[in-house]
């Protein structure tokens, strides 16, 4: 998986913070607000099941406009909180660049 560029590092932390909040809210488990970046999301780790996982991805789509399941067919992004944060941040930054280019006439 391609990591975010140097300029996006602060963004990954921001995204991770928001994902922690969504994790805690989606599952009703406040302790998940302290999930570390290297913690697995499924099949162990914080133990998301198919329902809470789907809810999380739906809320990621609403909050960030990123459809993880559609864009990452191997679902590698869902391995840990860190990989998901990097994936979302990468897509948000890419969209921002595309958006800025179209505002600036494709410069």
């Amino acid at each position: 998986m391609t990591g975010p560029g140097p300029g996006a590092q602060a963004g990954v932390g921001d995204v991770a913070g928001e994902l922690r909040r969504l994790l805690a809210a989606t599952t009703g488990r406040p302790e998940l607000a302290a999930t570390t970046l290297d913690t697995a999301l499924f099949g162990g780790g914080v133990g998301l099941d198919s329902l809470t996982g789907t809810l999380l991805l739906r809320q990621v789509r609403q909050r960030f406009g990123v459809d993880v399941a559609a864009e990452d067919l191997n679902l590698d992004a869902l391995a840990t909180l860190g990989t998901l944060s990097a994936f979302v941040c990468d897509r948000v930054v890419s969209d921002q660049i595309v958006s800025d280019r179209s505002v600036n006439g494709g410069a």
């Binding site: 488990r29 162990g44 739906r58 679902l75």
Partner: protein, 257 residues
Amino acid sequence: MLPVPPAGCADVWWLDIGTVTVGRPELAELSLEEHKRAASFAFRSDRRRYTAAHVMLRRVLSGYVDIPPSSLIFRREPCPRCGKPNGRPALPFGYGLHFSLAHSGDAVVIAVAGQQVGVDVEQQPTGCVCALSADMNAADAEWGRPLDEEARHELVMRWWVRAEAVLKCSGEGIGHGIGAFPVLGSPDGPVGPAVPGGPERLVAATEAHGCSLISLPAPDGYQAALALAGSVSGIRLAVRAPWTAAGSRRPSRDSVS
């Protein structure tokens, strides 16, 4: 030895993990792979749910195939959609037996049948699930339009467990999408026998995605569904182990360990 249910029939086993102790004798029945998976959970409650469910699965299946629980070996069938080895769990030699396991909160449910079977149970989430309406099949989503938020939550959860039961029965899982076909039929359709068990009962089924589908009565705060492969007008259910609810009100105390 328990007989494998005949065509159109399914055995259902419930377990309230609030009522069981998972100690050394139980843990000794799990495989190395199951121990590794259990150890990978960050929270004790998740580890306990996983271990209790898999100990129960081994003990239940042991009764049908006359093999000690700890000697059972599981494999994964290929997904019928993509061929990856993440389809239905199965025993290596089949034994003419199919099974499905689901767990959520304190509830574990196992379905056993002589044909492909899928079961799902979900504890009502504390948060709003209306966002999932976007994942629903359009025909199913229509049922939710006139409902207030509380009733829509119920409907969405009912839809979820029914759709997931079908996709577990087919072996596709939810990875390929969950809204490709309607599963609600009539949202007020019939449900199965009472939770405490009782005699076998024929439950009218809805056809969905090549399966016959019913909602299972579930403990308070849960919803459940069961699907059998093929088309039958009703599924004959036998609740082999009832839900006791003895531990359902026990507050969970998650802790990192």
